[in-house]
Symmetry: C2
Subunit: 294 residues, 2 copies
């Protein structure tokens, strides 16, 4: 096990423990809602966002307890978006992370409420940080902005509107910058803001890094959707083509998409050069995002 | 027009202007999502929650700009819950505030995203207050708690589970304390916290007031659902009986429900006695909640 693998597993285990702690207890009423919230979040996923929070936090000597809360907050927003995305009125997907989706395992109304309650829980957990309150308010604004209509929800709305349409590459990038990129960016910045204040140059470096990995993440998602099988992905493969959704692969082709992802990976590396060795986990995460198989 | 009527109309108009300002502009991308968010929130409703925010704020000399943000935040949470409640997998309602519901006027996927984005927008707007940051964090926690699984979403989950069940009066109260009461309580406390810090006695008085009006609100909702027509309500009447939902009317009967609402109204009046004349709008709102016809 390389140093990065060990760090990744240990960070994923930390995230799992923190999520278990910061989700409502399975014994708290209403039982079925809380069981479904825990089902939606725990024991699944690569925890890419908590990994980014932790890796960015390492640059700024952040307090672990606040990092754990920030990691949980972004992961809860991500998890709620998956629950709602999978519902019949959206992507109508029965499989997620290799398990039945929430509306299949429970029912649609519960899935709707699970997503709604997870979003509120994310803000509740983040607001519980023990940190300078002015910093906390800035972090809550950042998360709300990344989650809302100028971020993730806005990207999903553009995605909905784009089914069966010919998007330009610029329009496709704009969609993904909001849909996936906004929350990945928030993960990096929230991790950093858990610690000492980044100066303008450090903030610019983090922004450039986040922009590159955000786009790379989606390019690789499209590549995997076109090339991997459902068992490997843990979700239904080939959905984009079946749904006539524009993707990097449908616009650029497969090999140029892979080349673009490689270019973005080296952009991400270059962006965090000023942080030197402290940024090694951010670099490793860029590699992970581009080289993953699922 | 009495003093209260004038105050109410002016406060409602202020809330409408503030909502218009703090919702994403209709000209901002993505256009359809933003149009639907504005459709869901603007030009409708009695604005009971903004009225409570304003009336409580008057006790503590709160800055109007912060009161406007708090009022918008609770109203956006309320509006999002209505959009999701009306969806086919929940109450499947086609009419709200006399207009087609969002999933009817737009589509289900858009309604889902409208609710999600409105919740994020509520936290974004509240986090923008110009106020002591420690106070702002406490207010954000209060709103998240009231909106989530320990509040509104939790109450809706109990409501879902109760269809066709025999609930005791205590179970029914618990459901409504979460489903409607938590956000009404948050409205009162957020309004108060916009101003000078309430002492323990004032906080206890506000809590007692909020508990009484929260319950009264739901008792009257049940009475109206059983007695008013859809045109008056602006939503489908008689739904609870048709859905075999337990209500105050089904458990207590019609006249005892009215008598309970009257008792709660006088409880609310008594709770705010210590505030003297400054609490007159809180008293008037208790009257409005119990005596409303829709």
């Amino acid at each position: 096990m390389t140093g990065f693998d060990g760090w990744m597993r240990s960070t994923q285990a930390d995230a799992e423990r923190a999520l278990d702690q910061y989700l409502p207890a399975a014994t708290a009423l209403p039982l079925r809602l809380h069981a479904a919230m825990r089902y939606a979040v725990l024991d699944g996923g690569k925890r890419v966002r908590p990994l980014l929070v932790q890796a960015a936090a390492e640059l700024f000597d952040a307090a672990p307890a606040n990092v754990a809360r920030a990691a949980c907050a972004v992961e809860m927003i991500h998890a709620y978006s998956l629950v709602h995305d999978d519902m019949p009125c959206m992507d109508d997907d029965a499989l997620r992370r290799g398990k039945p989706t929430v509306h299949v395992a429970y029912d649609e109304a519960t899935a709707l409420l699970v997503g709604d309650a997870l979003q509120a829980q994310a803000f509740l957990v983040l607001a519980g940080m023990e940190i300078d309150p002015a910093r906390a308010v800035a972090m809550l604004r950042l998360l709300a902005d990344a989650a809302g209509s100028a971020g993730m929800c806005g990207g999903q709305a553009i995605d909905l509107a784009s089914v069966g349409m010919d998007l330009s590459l610029a329009e496709l990038e704009q969609m993904h910058r909001l849909k996936t990129g906004a929350l990945l960016r928030a993960s990096v910045l929230l991790g950093a803001w858990c610690g000492t204040t980044p100066d303008a140059a450090a903030t610019a470096a983090l922004e450039a890094y986040a922009a590159a990995i955000g786009l790379a993440f989606q390019v690789i998602d499209d590549v995997l959707d076109a090339t991997a099988d459902s068992a490997t992905l843990g979700k239904t493969a080939g959905k984009d083509a079946a749904d006539h959704k524009p993707t990097y692969v449908s616009i650029l082709g497969l090999e140029p998409s892979r080349a673009l992802a490689e270019k973005l990976r080296s952009d991400a590396h270059r962006a965090v050069l000023p942080f030197g060795d402290k940024a090694r986990h951010l670099r490793d995460l860029a590699d992970l995002i581009v080289q993953r198989k699922a």
